[in-house]
Subunit: 338 residues, 2 copies
């Protein structure tokens, strides 16, 4: 059994994964917010201890950035871990076992290639569209790491070079800056979206979700401020409202879909891809996201070799991160090289 | 000795390349224009026959698209060859020798990695900016083919998704549609550029290369039509005028440079690149191209791993195509897998 670990800003998961990729046991806990580095480590060790006895290897997916393959992690969403030697700590706990760590988005891509929608495909990009936009690149059947372990960063492919939104990376016009959940909900709020309004009575809003031509910024910012701390303001809520026909939510999905389609066209031309899989919360919007995505992709991917690329939803559910982490140990030939 | 062949729309070249990559003999001829498939093949055989006796292997670079690795070529700029079985013809002529064929842009990238500016680099993109914009991708020290041999097509990374020019591929806003030589000269003509005006007396033109605010399209199209068949309207002439200070030519170089910089930022994020080499006629504009390129690249490549990417001019001259073609035979481990 492989002890698989998936560390994110919201939750930590650990599981035992069999040689065939089946998750035979899994445990989850909330990632402590505002905790110090030691508390985070304690939380993780408590999570994994009940599984430790049966482990024959340890595979870990963790939010980036990180020093790779050393496994010193500085997850954007876990501020207390800056250069935290996660791999070394685990190696000290499991001195007789291989311990391998990679970016969580990479693990999701690996999982889809190993046991999900990308099985048997030579050249694919596995994407996740959620709080961030990430990915992993598999070419000629093998994971591409890049020298620093950062290959696959589709989230920072430029899709709006002129006037595009600022990105957390310091650049602007990146796919992530346009299509990550919080960017989309912010955009929708600025356009007059009121979460849940399409399905349930909400605060007063303008007909059709349109904002007036003038004074738009002020009105929108008020709404935005009111909702920002509200837990109903999520990509999932936006997707639900889009499904219920809210016009602003629909435009937000279209905006994200088109941006993703453009980035996929660029990646396809550069890497001669067969397949792109898309997971993460936003992908649950289904056709409302995939429709505009396909439209933009087919506008831009016209040359024969690029037309063959297929875009499909990720096939694995919430255990994908554990499956991919385990694959770093169980399918070394394809997914581990340093 | 390897018989290396480089087939393009303007010229055909053949040479003998030693094991160390030295071109010991080279011959060139103009590609017959408006010729049929058989005449083209005859021209090529006449070019290579004097070198044939000493050949121990045959490596070929040819304009794309092509069926790869079969080597059935349909070069955009050689209309009479559509699905022409170039590799099979050469294999019939050299039945006892290995014959390998790849995209000409791939061969240039391979040459730079093997013997040029990319020696010893793990992850690089070799670009050529000329009549077209092409490239080849080397990751983890090996050429990435993609399943159809089309990886490296940086020319069709999207850099102007909104309002960008139509591309020969059928899409719009591709890097090639913005930065290829003819697109740039067309753009410069539309903005009032008169070739050679910065250095020699030319036809009457407006001061400062500016066109009037109104009626611009009509005036520009007249100028464009007048120059289009003129052999002075080349990317090289544009670069020369930019060097001499022509303001429109300068803006054209800046336009190309920024577009290239944006595409490189996207490729760097996706492939975790160390290095990009740029060859082709336009790269001779030097700082006028590389300055705006660097500016745009550094605006967009902000995250730590991406900041390390370096962009340098290609180091090999006009024999790069032959060197890269020979490498398909001489450095199989790095550059040939099917």
């Amino acid at each position: 059994m492989i002890l698989a670990i998936d560390v994110g800003g919201t939750k930590m998961a650990a599981g035992l994964v069999a040689r065939d990729g089946t998750v035979v046991e899994a445990r989850r806990t909330a990632t402590p917010q505002h905790a110090d580095a030691a508390t985070l480590w304690e939380t993780l060790t408590e999570l994994i201890e009940p599984l430790a006895r049966r482990a024959e290897g340890v595979g870990v997916g963790c939010g980036g950035p990180m020093r790779w393959p050393q496994g010193e992690v500085s997850p954007l969403n876990i501020p207390a871990w800056r250069g935290f030697p996660l791999r070394a700590r685990l190696a000290a706990r499991f001195p007789d076992l291989p311990v391998r760590l990679h970016n969580d988005a990479i693990c999701l891509a690996v999982a889809e290639h190993w046991k999900g929608a990308g099985r048997g495909v030579a050249d694919m990009l596995g994407m996740v569209v959620s709080t961030g936009v990430g990915g992993g690149l598999i070419l000629n059947g093998r994971l591409v790491n890049g020298r620093t372990g950062n290959a696959g960063h589709i989230g920072h492919v430029v899709v709006e070079p002129v006037g595009g939104p600022r990105c957390g990376c310091g650049g602007h016009g990146c796919l992530e800056a346009v299509a990550r959940g919080p960017a989309l909900t912010d955009w929708a709020l600025s356009q007059g979206w009121a979460p849940g309004s399409a399905t349930t009575p909400g605060p007063p809003r303008r007909a059709g979700g349109q904002v007036p031509e003038s004074g738009e910024g002020v009105v929108a910012r008020d709404v935005q401020a009111a909702y920002r701390e509200d837990r109903t303001v999520t990509g999932k809520a936006l997707a639900a409202d889009a499904l219920a026909g809210d016009p602003v939510a629909l435009r937000a999905m279209s905006r994200a879909g088109r941006a993703i389609g453009i980035a996929i066209a660029s990646a396809t031309h550069l890497c001669d891809l067969d397949l792109v899989t898309i997971g993460g919360g936003l992908s649950q919007a289904g056709e409302l996201l995939f429709g505009p995505l396909e439209e933009a992709l087919r506008e831009h991917a016209r040359v024969e070799f690029a037309r063959r690329v297929k875009v499909v939803p990720a096939a694995l559910g919430q255990e994908a991160g554990l499956v991919g982490a385990a694959a770093l140990i169980l399918a070394t030939d394809s997914y581990w090289s340093t």
